[in-house]
């Protein structure tokens, strides 16, 4: 078996699972001020993902670590070329993490108001930046033998922005559905109704993205070569339609599940289109970073495969267990009474 391909698949899976899991935390974080009319409601939103957000973020750390271990050249060039956007992403992730912890530690309205805004901004920035970054990776970065010719401004090209908007909309929808599923009463109803409203612009952005991808990227070439993979984008579209249908039927849990599939499908669509590139060059394909020219040695890939196939299943098992442990809706009364809550 070609370990390069195994690691390409793992790489895609790590990113997809990360976006599926942190997507609802980012979305709920962006929305918690809008959905929560008072402090207690906002705390319900934050506590709805309180026990799991940190574990969700680890998928990103692992995606980064896996890129380093399996494709070190891609890791080195991707992180240094995208220095400024990654820096902003880093700042946002740092602020977001401490905001959850710090917010509840003082009573004052100013204190909490500040951290509320910190949460909104530090949830929006990663959603947008991940979208912009992946949009640019899909369309290729300007690199040749002399190195990188891009800049922060150049990343904000129309396709990058559409892709950024797509990520923001996907996570907003995902977050609204999550809050609808995890909360009760008015808060849950508001979240559900917002999810219906958000679905229309999400659909518009998704359609624009899919159409634009045909012109801005070479992602669809792989699908022409192997049409069997079309099942992934079709699944993503079906799941997106499913979100609205299931919402119409009043089944928010199923709609949330469908939103999970949408995110997995969208990331999968992009990653399959990239193969065998990790980061294509839009100047000369000779300088594209592929799973072959940027990978670790066969020996390292073997070791890392052993590690991944031993530990990732264990991780998945206890992640499922912890989601089951904290399943069910969170009520305002329970948050108010729980002195360990955020």
């Amino acid at each position: 078996m070609d370990l390069h391909i195994v690691w390409f698949v793992l790489w895609g899976v790590l990113w997809a699972v990360y976006f599926m899991l942190d997507g609802f935390v980012l979305g709920a974080g962006m929305l918690h001020r809008v959905l929560g009319k008072n402090d207690l409601d906002r705390r319900v939103v934050i506590n709805s993902f309180g026990p799991v957000w940190d574990g969700n973020e680890v998928w990103l750390i692992t995606a980064g670590g896996a890129t380093f271990a399996a494709f070190p050249t891609t890791y080195a060039l991707m992180f240094s070329y995208l220095y400024t956007p990654l820096l902003l992403l880093l700042f946002a992730l740092i602020v977001r993490g401490v905001s959850f912890e710090f917010r509840s530690k003082e009573e004052g309205a100013t204190w909490r108001g500040c951290w509320d805004w910190a949460i909104v901004i530090s949830s929006f920035v990663p959603a947008l930046l991940f979208g912009v970054a992946f949009g640019n990776i899909f369309s290729g970065l300007p690199m040749d033998q002399a190195g990188y010719h891009g800049s922060l401004i150049a990343l904000l090209n129309p396709y990058g922005i559409v892709s950024g908007l797509l990520f923001v909309m996907l996570f907003l929808e995902h977050g609204a559905l999550y809050v609808a599923v995890k909360s009760t009463g008015d808060l849950s109803r508001r979240a559900e109704s917002l999810a219906r409203t958000l679905w229309i612009p999400l659909l518009v952005v998704a359609v624009v993205f899919l159409g634009y991808t045909n012109f801005a990227t070479k992602l669809y070439d792989n699908y022409l070569k192997a049409p069997v993979f079309l099942v992934v984008p079709l699944l993503a579209v079906a799941a997106l339609v499913g979100v609205r249908t299931l919402l119409g039927m009043g089944n928010t849990l199923a709609a949330f599940a469908s939103s999970c599939v949408t995110i997995l499908g969208v990331v999968g669509t992009g990653v399959i289109g990239l193969f065998p590139n990790l980061i294509p060059s839009n100047m000369d394909s000779l300088y594209s970073l592929t799973i072959y020219n940027s990978s670790s040695s066969e020996y390292t890939l073997q070791i890392m495969t052993g590690v991944a196939f031993t530990f990732v299943p264990v991780v998945i098992l206890y992640k499922i267990w912890v989601y089951r442990l904290f399943r069910g809706r969170i009520t305002a009364e329970a948050v108010a009474a729980d002195h360990e809550a955020y």
Partner: protein, 447 residues
Amino acid sequence: MDVLTLSRLQFAITSMFHFIFVPLTLGLSVLVAMMETRYVLSGNEMYKRMAKFWGKLFLINFALGVVTGITMEFQFGMNWAEYSRYVGDIFGAPLAIEATVAFFMESVFIGVWAFGWDKVSKRFHAVSIWLVALATNLSGLWILLANGWMQHPVGYVLRNGRAEMVDFMALVTNPFGLLKFGHQIVSGYTVAGFFVMGISAYHLLKARNREFFRASFGMAAVFALVASIMVGVIGDFHAADVAKTQPAKFAAMEAVWNSCNNAPMHLIAFPDEKNECNLVSALPVPGLLSFLAFHDTNAQIRGITSFPKDERPPVLPVFLSFRLMVGLGTLFIILSAAGLFLSKNGLLEKYPMFLKLLVLCIPLPYIANQLGWLVSEVGRQPWIVYGIMKTSDAVSKSLELSQVIGSLLGFTLLYGLLGFVDIYLLAKFARKGPEESHVGATNAFRN
């Protein structure tokens, strides 16, 4: 100032800031786990309150430790792309393993612990903090194996224009990494021991919650004494290993300029880098340095002048950091032994000066930890990977000066602000003391 200097400065600032929070996490997770275990075994509610009170401080500290850790992973690629490309084949592995094996476990079970008081059994709740402690220490193991490889590269060949891994077991059993891990872990435990002793002393001085803080103090004193003795013992082995593997660093640590056999240890010394000699060196103990390094009083110690000028670390900061660290380490053994003696005999409150001293000593183990890292990282310069890659060759080629100036300013401002808030909150909740226990109720307020 160039990209290289600023990138080095940024790495120093971000890693030292990260390391304000890590040692306490390493040690306090274990201490809280011990407290909760006593609760489970004895059923004594006081130990539950102890786990909750110290656990809350743990969480406030933990938050900043976790998020500043992400910076470390990103920076290798962002600022040190040439390094990452050259050694990623072997260096990336322990980082990825750390995330997979340790970070997931740590993050999932800290959620269970913080939010699961009523969701899981008493027994399993204690297990979850033990899992957090295990994961935290495991993450230390993998990151120090990674650092140990940079200090003393093993299990690789230079091939295809980079360092490629050929022996994973050599990486995992690298004595340098394992000794460093041992030394670091118990240093973290020392930080936690003095943290708990210091805050307990503060409350005992105010005569509040006496039984609670006497018990906390007693546990922390044992913990700190055992840990600080282990720091010295493992540190001694570690230094002897450094003498073998990184003779230039060892020479700088001890300010030995000229190679000699039967090298004495000067109890008082002060290096003069310009003239390549010591301004002062007094009170020699004959042969002690040779003995400490090689367990043979006649062994040869290489002097700094025996290394080419471009392969020498800066001597003064390494020498001073090392001396100060060793001095502090000795102080920790004395203080924790005294603390344990007074605590065992119920004499703590008879010596308010001692309690005040312990409050003031809270920062000292933190400082000792930072000094240790200064010795370790400054002492291996100019190498980023000892003997095979220089720091100056490791920096990203694509970076522009303005980018690094911007990021350095950003980190300084953001970290400064968050560090201030974190320490404010730690102090606030440390001062406030434990929540009162109410009969029957699931006890009082938070929010």
